[in-house]
Assembly symmetry: C2
Homo-oligomer: 224 residues x 2
């Protein structure tokens, strides 16, 4: 054989794969999952349609990886925010706020990852994504319960309820389209975080304090 994959080629292949995934992500962020079609994504990534299939066996695999990718980033952000908090309750508040801020700053992408109809089956990937995020939130709730800050409860159910509340109210079809007004965005984040904390049993007064703390750090609402 006179051809071997040299390091340079391996790097280029990896780069191309990333480019395709990035193109898919951009497409989803711009137009939702409906815009993630092989031909357009290929054009964005500067390859031919057929090339996509050298990197992903099918569209379902491409989208599944996209979902996994975004989820991984999201989970990392949640952990970072929660771990930086001084205690379990404020960690929970930070986690919730992080999710809220992220979905609001990338609404189309979030909607696409979470719930937008797709013509291929990505339920497994979506399920895994939800499991990861919900598991993290459940863990934070549990920590607060163990610290005596919250009443005992079914943390898994509570976690999925919290996420459902965040998603529906912030990126669901009824969500007000306040893309412009960053003040209103911040209000929405605060309101929903407050609801979430109270839902798991934080007293109203204390919840308000936690919300202020969690939103204070000045996270910008623009840019993931």
């Amino acid at each position: 054989m006179v051809y071997r994959r040299t390091h340079q080629v391996v790097k280029r292949l990896a780069a191309r794969r990333s480019a395709i995934l990035a193109a898919a992500r951009d497409a989803a962020a711009e137009g939702g999952m409906v815009a993630v079609q092989i031909a357009p994504v290929a054009i964005r990534a500067n390859v031919a349609a057929g090339t996509v299939y050298r990197y992903f066996p099918s569209k379902a695999d491409l989208i599944s990886e996209l979902i996994a990718d975004v989820s991984r980033d999201e989970l990392a952000a949640i952990r970072r925010a929660a771990d930086a908090a001084p205690g379990p309750s404020s960690a929970l508040a930070a986690a919730v706020t992080t999710v809220a801020v992220h979905v609001l700053s990338q609404r189309k992408l979030a909607w696409g990852i979470l719930a937008e109809p797709v013509d291929v089956d990505v339920t497994a990937s979506r399920l895994a994504s939800r499991r990861e995020i919900a598991g993290e939130i459940a863990g934070r709730i549990d920590a607060a319960v163990r610290a005596g800050h919250l009443p005992a409860q079914d943390t898994a159910l509570a976690a999925s309820a919290l996420l459902g509340a965040l998603h529906e109210s912030l990126v669901g079809p009824l969500a007000p389209d306040n893309t412009e007004d960053s003040g209103k965005l911040r209000d929405a984040v605060q309101t929903v975080t407050l609801l979430a904390l109270r839902a798991v049993g934080v007293m109203d007064a204390r919840a308000r304090g936690l919300v202020v703390q969690a939103v204070l750090p000045g996270k910008t609402l623009v840019g993931a």
Copy 2:
């Protein structure tokens, strides 16, 4: 003209229309929206595929009407339950419980109406459906606020958050599949209702009382 629509014919036409809608509903309840395809629905309704188009201009219209139909029933059930309650807080609890019980007893249908991917555009109909239900819940929250039972808040946002929490935790992909165990179903309804009430600011202790009251009336979890 030697042919006029006689009353008998008019009735038959109406019956056929209902049969098609009912067939669509049955299909959705059994297999989700993915099972609502023209040919199978036509077979269920004992008509030919082409006949469906004499009653509904397109599949999108058929599904939109299906969604509207189910929503209308749901809204009526919510109002009935809430109006029968002794006060605004228990009315809210009754409304939430009603939604929870209904989605649990018809999970596939609920998922189909709410969020399942469909190959035609039914966003308008789904939006209207959510608006109706969320509006009703928002009204109930507002009543409780005005009665001084809850802190002032953005009731529209709260309502959509509550519905999101119910849906995600009860019929979302993470929802445990307790179809069999009616005891667990009841627990889930109670837990989620409790979360919802606390979320809008009902004190924990009082919320627990309201939940017991709301779930008590012995609604069966089987059969819408």
